[in-house]
């Protein structure tokens, strides 16, 4: 799978790089190499924060798309912007937006439910 598809908390191992762009060689020289293990600590905006025992990297998603990884273990620990494998919902902005939409629909449902009870208790007040 692509690194960009990894979730927050996942521990991954870099397997390969797709393409032969100059920047990929530089990434490799910076320490993101085949066989290196990293934890995806945070996904925010278009960036991923990767960490291993003593290095941390910020990597934009377009570059993460070009890195093939294998997930070693799905941590599933709570983090700021969790995401789901293979889902469109892949960054914290989308996550927050989605959460807000869910919250709105929950509130709407609660209101409706409330009104339903209200109607049951005081049927004479409801509009016909």
């Amino acid at each position: 799978m692509k690194l960009s598809e990894a979730c927050c908390g996942d521990r991954v191992i870099i397997r390969d790089f797709e393409g032969d762009e100059e920047i990929l060689k530089k990434i490799s020289a910076m320490g993101l190499r085949k066989g290196s293990q990293f934890e995806v600590c945070l996904r925010c905006g278009r960036n991923l924060l990767l960490r291993n025992h003593n290095s941390q990297f910020i990597l934009s998603r377009d570059l993460a798309d070009k890195i093939k990884v294998e997930v070693l273990n799905i941590e599933g620990k709570p983090c700021e912007a969790p995401c789901l494998h293979g889902d469109e919902q892949s960054n914290c902005e989308d996550y927050l937006k989605n959460e807000l939409t869910n919250e709105h629909s929950r509130l709407r449902a609660r209101k409706k439910r409330g009104l339903g009870i209200f109607k049951k208790v005081c049927p004479f007040l409801s509009k016909k």
């Binding site: 100059e22 020289a29 905006g45 924060l49 934009s60 700021e80 912007a81």
Partner: protein
């Protein structure tokens, strides 16, 4: 005496400059982010019968792909310039990463010494380092160092001399890569590096959660990260003003009310001519003294800015801000030069060398002059303290307007001349490193020295020219009829619509193009020349007054530090004081004109050093085009502000 030329090479942010500072006694700027050094710098020392010259090169990850300007400098140097020894500085905790470059340096076939730097950090992270094994494997000298404290650094000197004398070129038979394809070569190199690292570095224990992990959970949080950023900026600005503004007032009063009249009287008693006495009193103390009174402000500003720079927080800001900057086509790394611009625009423009794309570089160079530098802060500080009850809020507002206009300019350029797709973003986050007070003070003193040298040279010359132009032609009675008055009056119609039609203001603005602080110097010289001293001067009484002022300044600092809210000034008390320069300036400018003036100083790129840096790093068209654009924008915004508040 024989000379050895040593090139310091290594990955970015591994402590090359710190080592050079310890070796050669230089005072070069250091920081904790990749890209502090963007140009070649040198330092020399004498050891045994040799003069050893060190050449500090910008950090580079690999010699294969050179993408940015700073990396080009290093690659060019290594390929085409003469040097005797390579000093490869390696960050021990990231040995495997750094050895990749080392294996490329080996192929240069030059005598080499390796400095295993940050050995203390490696030990804290649970690593045990076998330097002798690395030395055996590469057949060169390997020295353990701690660049932050200087531990082990002096041992590099005998190692360098021995390496030079014996011409110790690293030998690694497995590195005969010539026959391989480029792809295989890289693969083989990576395997070799992994093997070398495994031989030399062993993890003895796994540390518990590091301070960097703990702090990053707070500072990089998608929501609370911004809350912390806001708090850090607020506290920084509050401390800058709470500590510096009472001291600025005290020093200003000390120079204007005590030193200046004392020198005038002493010169008169010594029989100096009226012309000389007035020149020293008005040009030196009236103008230059005003700039020197801002030494506490510069000191405190750079203290906090340097702390942010050396602690490693700046790259975190880059990560946080990328969420917004990528929407205008910029990646977060561009934030670092912009923040450096709050100190001085010139090094900020040089810092754009770390960016790989030229279009991105030009865009950021065009944004930097809107970042209020310390020279503008001096002008803002003076006017805000003189005219407003809440100076901190006024200055914060000016900073925010500057940031807004830089974003506006970025969007404008991205949509027109510098159209381009968003580039990728990759950056290494350094661990948090808390600098010692000694290092902080040393860097701050460097900035302070450059401010004082600037004040003592350029600004001093400007204030002398202004004073002479106020007193020429000889025998001129009214200042308006002097050369300065005539120049000011000629330019007045241009500034009249923005409320700055007074010739004294326009005359102050012209030479400010050489140095922004000169605006205050010029106003000081002009107003001091106009002012007539009427009060009798009693040195003992005035000195006692100054003592009382110092005590009240110190108590003011303590009381404002204890309050969480920004300090409010009582202008009513100060308005009664009309004899001082502040009183004169308050009489000269109404409030709408002051606001228009501050906006004009904020926006117009009135600094010759910045224009030259833009020309050199960008292009002639960029520098001249921006000068014209910033003048138009400054005039237009000041006009709106003036009309709105009139």
């Amino acid at each position: 005496m024989k000379k050895i030329r040593v090139a310091l090479v290594g990955n970015p942010n591994v402590g090359k400059t710190s080592i050079l500072n310890h070796l050669a006694g230089t005072n070069l700027m250091i920081g904790n982010w990749p890209g502090v050094t963007v140009e070649k710098r040198t330092g020399s020392t004498f050891f045994q019968e040799y003069e050893i010259e060190f050449i500090d090169l910008p950090g580079i990850y690999t010699l294969e792909e050179v993408l940015s300007e700073d990396e080009k400098i290093t690659a060019e140097f290594l390929r085409s310039e003469e040097f005797d020894v390579l000093l490869n500085v390696v960050e021990t905790p990231r040995l495997e990463r750094d050895l990749y470059l080392t294996t490329q340096l080996v192929e240069l076939r030059k005598p080499m010494v390796i400095a295993l730097n940050m050995i203390d950090e490696a030990e804290k992270l649970g690593y045990s380092v076998d330097d002798k094994r690395l030395s055996d494997l590469l057949k060169i000298a390997v020295v353990k160092t701690v660049g932050r404290t200087g531990e082990g650094v002096k041992a590099l000197l005998p190692a360098i001399v021995e390496t030079y004398e014996k011409q110790q070129i690293p030998q690694l038979e497995t590195l005969s890569l010539e026959t391989l394809q480029p792809e295989d070569e890289r693969e083989k190199r990576l395997f070799l590096v992994k093997g070398l690292s495994a031989e030399v570095l062993q993890r003895v224990f796994l540390p518990k959660r590091t301070i960097t992990e703990f702090l990053d959970n707070l500072f990089l949080h998608p929501f609370f990260g911004f809350v912390f950023l806001f708090i850090i900026l607020y506290v920084t600005f509050k401390l800058i003003f709470d500590i510096s503004s009472p001291l600025v007032d005290f020093i200003d009063g000390f120079i204007q009310d005590f030193i200046s009249p004392l020198v005038l009287i002493s010169l008169e008693n010594l029989g100096a001519s009226n012309f000389i006495s007035r020149m020293i009193s008005e040009a030196v103390f009236g103008g230059l003294g005003m700039v020197f009174s801002f030494v506490p402000l510069i000191f405190v500003t750079y203290f906090f800015l340097t702390f942010l720079e050396t602690s490693g927080y700046l790259p975190r800001v880059a990560f946080l801000m990328d969420r917004f900057t990528h929407k205008i086509g910029l990646h977060g790394q561009s934030i670092i030069p912009l923040i450096l611009g709050f100190g001085c625009n010139v090094p900020a423009i040089l810092a754009t060398r770390t960016l790989q794309d030229r279009s991105d570089r030009l865009l950021i160079i065009s944004m930097i002059p809107f970042m209020s530098c310390s020279a503008r802060l001096v002008v803002f500080g003076f006017f805000a303290i003189t005219f407003f009850e809440n100076p901190l809020l006024i200055i914060l507002a000016l900073y925010l307007v500057g940031i807004f206009l830089s974003l506006f300019t970025a969007v404008l350029l991205r949509k027109s001349l510098l159209r381009k797709a968003l580039s990728h973003f990759v950056m290494e986050l350094p661990p948090y490193r808390f600098p010692s007070l000694r290092v902080l003070i040393r860097i701050v003193l460097l900035h302070l020295k450059s401010f004082i040298v600037r004040a003592g040279t350029i600004i001093f010359v400007i204030s002398l020219i202004i004073w002479f132009s106020l007193n020429l032609p000889p025998g001129v009675e009214r200042l308006e009829d002097s050369i300065a008055g005539k120049i000011g009056k000629t330019l007045s119609p241009l500034f009249e619509p923005i409320g700055l039609g007074d010739w004294r203001i326009t005359t102050s603005l012209i030479p400010a193009f050489l140095a922004r602080e000169a605006i205050l110097t010029n106003l000081g010289v002009i107003l001091k020349a106009e002012r007539e001293e009427t009060e009798a001067f009693d040195p003992k009484e005035r000195l006692a007054d100054q003592g009382r002022n110092l005590l009240s300044a110190l108590s003011e600092i303590i009381s404002s530090l204890l309050s969480p809210l920004p300090k409010k000034l009582s202008l009513e008390d100060e308005e009664e004081e009309t004899s001082g320069l502040k009183g004169e300036i308050r009489k000269l400018l109404p409030l709408p004109s002051v606001l228009a003036f501050l906006f004009f100083v904020l926006i117009y790129n009135s600094c010759v050093a910045t224009v030259v840096a833009m020309w050199r790093e960008g292009s002639k068209n960029l520098a001249l085009g921006f000068l014209f654009y910033s003048f138009l924008l400054a005039w237009f915004v000041s006009y709106i502000v003036y009309k709105f508040f009139s």
